[in-house]
Amino acid sequence: MTVLSSTFDPADPTAVANRAHLLERLSQLDAEHAAAIAGGGERYVERHHRRGKLLARERIEALLDRDSPFLEFSPLAAWGSDYPVGASVVTGVGVVEGVECVLSANDPTVRGGASNPWTLRKSLRAMEIARENRLPLISLVESGGADLPSQAEIFIPGGQIFRDLTRLSAAGIPTIAVVFGNSTAGGAYVPGMSDHVVMVRERAKVFLGGPPLVKMATGEESDDESLGGAEMHARTSGLADHLAEDEYDALRITRRIVARLHHRKQGPGPSEPADAPRYPAEDLLGLAPADLRMPFDPREVLARICDGSRFDEVKRLYGPSLVTGWASIHGYPVGVLANARGVLFGAEAQKATQFIELANVADVPLLFLQNTTGYMVGRDYEQAGIIKHGAMMINAVANSRVPHLTVNLGASYGAGNYGMCGRAYGPRFLFTWPNAKSAVMGPAQLAGVLSIVARQAAEAKGRPYDEDGDAAMRSMVEQQIEAQSLAPFLSGRLYDDGVIDPRDTRTVLGMCLSAVHTGPIEGARGYGVFRM
């Protein structure tokens, strides 16, 4: 057993600067979260409350086991888009009657809870988390359906919601729909495709076509209650399994449904001592680099997130730019891959490949701590086969079957993002520190590359190069790439599952590890052909 010892000094000027930078980022993050929490704004929140209704997050809070933790996904979804931050839906993983579930709650204060393209992506991501981790899905429904102006982007892909709902059911993952209000047209298939349906008396409204549409289609005169009221569905159509007196009653019934699922975890429980790290999480603010060009030792991070700061390193002396080794978090064993000095060389790629195979053989989940500028470039490296080595690592990551968790601590550039299990490589969960960035390459490098290419083109044509224009172009490109590399932008596009406070890293990973162990933990026993 190896206990990490820290050399970090929180009074060091770099640490102090890092901390100040991160605290500022965190306060910006809080402001963005506040916008998501505010939903449709004071007026709509007040109106909603006046109608005796609970907000999406209030419904979630009331449904969860009291005092249990809740990890919300993608609170910044739709950041930087034309749609409100949060994408009018709240999703996350939490504990209901001792069972970890994925919760998905429409925010009816935002345009009546209507779905826009980001709502769709966020909802689908929540369902993907439910599927991959075998977590029951509870939909807290109150949505006016598709946001009609953006129907072109929703209607056709939106069908996946209903397809995935029934596939969850087919896979033995329970689905529960609790209908608090509107759930009409396509939305009617949410209760329609769910295993268990609760509707709130005099509130739920579930029909394919409302009175005006019915009138237009068949000439029939009708009303909301007879077309889709909770009482009608409970007594007549049979779509509702439970008729709730009010919202709290609906949540109470939902808890009873979950209690009776007897949903069992298929993965092993925590098996290691889950003692706290020996070093304070507070230090992580001083460790997270404000300047991504400054490398830092990821062991300092591990000393603050792993049980008892214990870490058994593998191949410490080989490929030192990547740290690999074994640890546990909240009692769950993990294999860790952490960038140490940004660049991945051939040795690091080979080391990673071997380590990923070891984790798969041992059925141990992997934790990727990203801080990489990518694979090394240059004549010597190309000739030594950096592509082959990078491909081996990407092959191993892509075909690995143990659950992967990824945290972007700083930089995540180039194919390093792929090798270190970026979004496209399907980590079960991916979170980002507020200081982190991700792009094909750094803004200055990217602008420089463009400049060089343009200069070469001008020279080839024998034209003089416009130096002023070049400078303007570089500055503009740098700014644009910088903006698009930032955490809120990436999180807004659902390239992660959320931006987290570095101090919460251990807690977030603990929740994720518990969630992934709801499904079986089985490593891959074969890989694609390794190009040696």
Binding site: R57, A62, S68, P69, P75, P270, H330, D504
Partner: protein
């Protein structure tokens, strides 16, 4: 020699008698009704005999069954305790006829004092001052205020103060009913009501050889509904001269009836210093321990000695110090002293041992943790007695013992007792029998709104700690952790002043520690400890700020069935003894609808508003549970 004593009683007095018997090596026979099958006195006695049934009339008042029990269990003596048959000359005679030793006065002496009416006449004859007797049909305004009193029994049952002549008939009738029900004798009489009087009584103990001790006085002036609440000795207002006069009168009273054993002569001390004989209790008194504490005697042991024919020394030992007793009841002083019933989960009151001149606390309890307080008998839980060299110290010791008690179950009068013990007027020794009626402020719980709020916070934090400790999933993660914090964690409790909602995460006060049963908060720089006991949704929080009982208002509780507006519900389990209205009848606000009898007290149920009786599902004689619908009065008020 008594070798096996039947204790014809229950509750604390049965336990108290058994305790002395244990010390003396006398075996004991307990009796028990079905409701008392697991009571402590049954467990603590050598053997016990069942009295089938629950009502007192079927069990503890059945002389034949008690004698049968004595026979079958081989008892050679009977101690009646107080209440029940303790003052029945017929029972005493039956015990003697059965060849058993009767631990009490001769039946003739009991008979002479049994009727308060007769006793007054007899006392007047030997020169003991008495109050005039008034005939109910002949009283005039000039006689007001007056007191209607049952001739038999005691304990304030069947006793009423009358201040206006109208309604006198109903008062007399009601007193008769109560007297009949409690003592089997409907006789009542009237006498002038002495305002601001003090209740002073003298403990006497006489042997078969002509020695009569007067063991000083007890002051029992603080009363509610003519039932004693606090009793002390010596009285703060009795001078040595007055004491001599009282003791002389008491000895004369005892001698006049050939008294043997322990008895109490009760007097009313008027504000002018004059005193009048009220009655003589021919038995051990509830409040006898205060006398024991100052004289260092065991009156039950002495009763047994006297019954065995042993002669008392000529003079009693000298009295020292001051003793005060509080009667701890399961009752709610703030809602008309209504008796409270239910499971007493925790009953923890620390006794403090006798050690030289250090104050000590004695607890004579009828219950232990886990007992159920039933509606069938007197709701007294315990007598708590403090002794100290001075009155001030005794009061302070008793108040502290009561305040520090952990009482988790039905509402008790504990807070009231503490408030009275700390009340300047009481501390000054100026409280008379009208004290409680004149000082409504003592009805308020010790815990003020701030204490309730802090207690609710502690309750919420303790509950949170308990949930985290037993969580099946993610138990090791921080309680209530959120990556996106949208709202504080709150909990709502039903408290003594209505609903209280606390935000406990974040907490408004620094939480120094929180476990499922103890929470330590830093409140304005002061470290305060709250002990928390949770049973389902019920929570009891004990702290230096006062005990607070709370009930968690679970937003996800099963919705309760709706109650019709205007529903009158039974405040406690009991028997409907009278229905005063009929269905469809118009009633005025405050008009009597029915009378519920519980624990031998009559509780009038009145119309909450002007209106019409729409439903009346009860009838005279109906047994009802707490919360049962008695009537629906549809309001005609705006």
């Amino acid at each position: 020699m008594i070798s096996r004593l039947l204790v014809a009683n229950r509750g604390e007095i049965a336990r108290r008698i058994i305790r002395t018997c244990d010390a003396l090596g006398i075996e004991t026979v307990a009796v028990y009704s079905d409701a008392d099958a697991t009571a402590r006195h049954v467990v603590e006695a050598t053997v016990a005999v069942r009295l089938p049934g629950t009502a007192s009339a079927d069990t503890y008042l059945r002389a034949d069954l008690l004698l049968g029990a004595a026979r079958s269990a081989g008892a050679d003596a009977v101690h009646p305790g107080y209440g029940f048959l303790s003052e029945s000359p017929e029972f005493a005679a039956a015990v003697l006829d059965a060849g058993l030793t009767w631990v009490g006065p001769p039946p003739s002496a009991m008979a002479a004092m049994a009727s308060k009416l007769e006793a007054k006449k007899r006392m007047a004859a030997v020169g003991v001052p008495v109050l005039a007797e008034l005939e109910p049909s002949r009283v005039t305004d000039a006689d007001l205020p007056l007191l209607v009193k049952a001739s038999a029994g005691g304990g304030g049952r069947g006793m009423r103060v009358v201040r206006t002549l109208d309604g006198l008939d109903e008062v007399v009738a009601s007193a008769r009913r109560e007297a009949e029900s409690a003592f089997g004798d409907p006789a009542v009489f009237c006498e002038p009501y002495v305002e601001r009087g003090r209740h002073i009584e003298v403990q006497v103990l006489a042997d078969l050889h002509g020695t009569v001790w007067a063991l000083g006085e007890r002051d029992c002036s603080v009363q509610r509904r003519h039932q004693k609440v606090l009793e002390e000795t010596p009285s703060p207002v009795v001078t040595p001269d007055l004491r001599s006069a009282l003791c002389e009168a008491a000895v004369a009273a005892a001698a006049a009836v050939g008294y043997v054993g322990a008895g109490t002569v009760e007097f009313l001390l008027a504000p002018d210093g004059g005193f009048h004989f009220l009655e003589m209790n021919t038995r051990l008194q509830v409040e006898h321990p205060v006398t024991e504490c100052v004289y260092g005697l065991d009156l039950v042991a002495l009763q047994l000695s006297v019954a065995e024919g042993v002669a008392l020394p000529l003079d009693p030992p000298p009295a020292r110090g001051h003793a005060i007793e509080a009667r701890l009841y399961a009752e709610d002083p703030a809602s008309g002293w209504t008796p409270q019933t239910g499971l007493l989960r925790t009953f923890s009151l620390e006794e403090r041992a006798v050690l030289s001149d250090r104050p000590f606390v004695r607890v004579d309890a009828g219950v232990v943790s886990g007992d159920v307080v039933t509606p069938h008998y007197d709701p007294m839980l315990a007598k708590v007695v403090a002794w100290a060299p001075t009155r001030e110290a005794a009061l302070r010791t008793l108040a502290a013992a009561l305040a520090g008690a952990r009482l988790h179950g039905p509402v008790t009068n504990r807070d009231l007792l503490v408030r009275v013990l700390r009340h300047p007027e009481f501390v000054a020794g100026a409280a008379d029998t009208g004290f409680l009626a004149a000082h409504e402020e003592v009805l308020a719980p010790l815990a003020d709104a701030g204490a309730v709020e802090l207690s609710a916070l502690a309750a919420a934090l303790a509950a949170s700690a308990a949930r985290r400790a037993t969580a099946r999933t993610l138990a090791g993660l921080p309680a209530g952790w959120r990556n996106v914090l949208s709202q504080a964690a709150r909990a709502t409790y039903e408290g003594p002043h209505g609903e209280v909602t606390v935000s406990y995460r974040p907490s408004p006060h620094e939480v120094l520690s929180a476990t499922p049963d103890e929470v330590v908060l830093l409140v304005d720089g002061v470290r305060e400890t709250f002990s928390v006991a949770r049973h389902g949704d019920d929570v009891w929080v004990d702290s230096a700020r006062g005990a607070v009982a709370l009930r968690f208002a679970d937003p996800l509780a099963v919705p309760p069935p709706a109650t019709e507006p205007g529903s009158l519900l039974a405040p406690m389990p009991g028997t409907v003894v009278r229905v005063a209205v009929a269905e469809g009848q118009a009633v005025a606000r405050g008009e009597l609808v029915c009378v519920l009898e519980a624990m031998k007290m009559e509780h009038p149920v009145t119309a909450p508003a002007d209106g019409v009786v729409r439903r009346l599902p009860v009838f005279a004689g109906a047994q009802v549970e707490a919360g049962a619908l008695l009537a629906v009065v549809e309001s005609s008020e705006e």
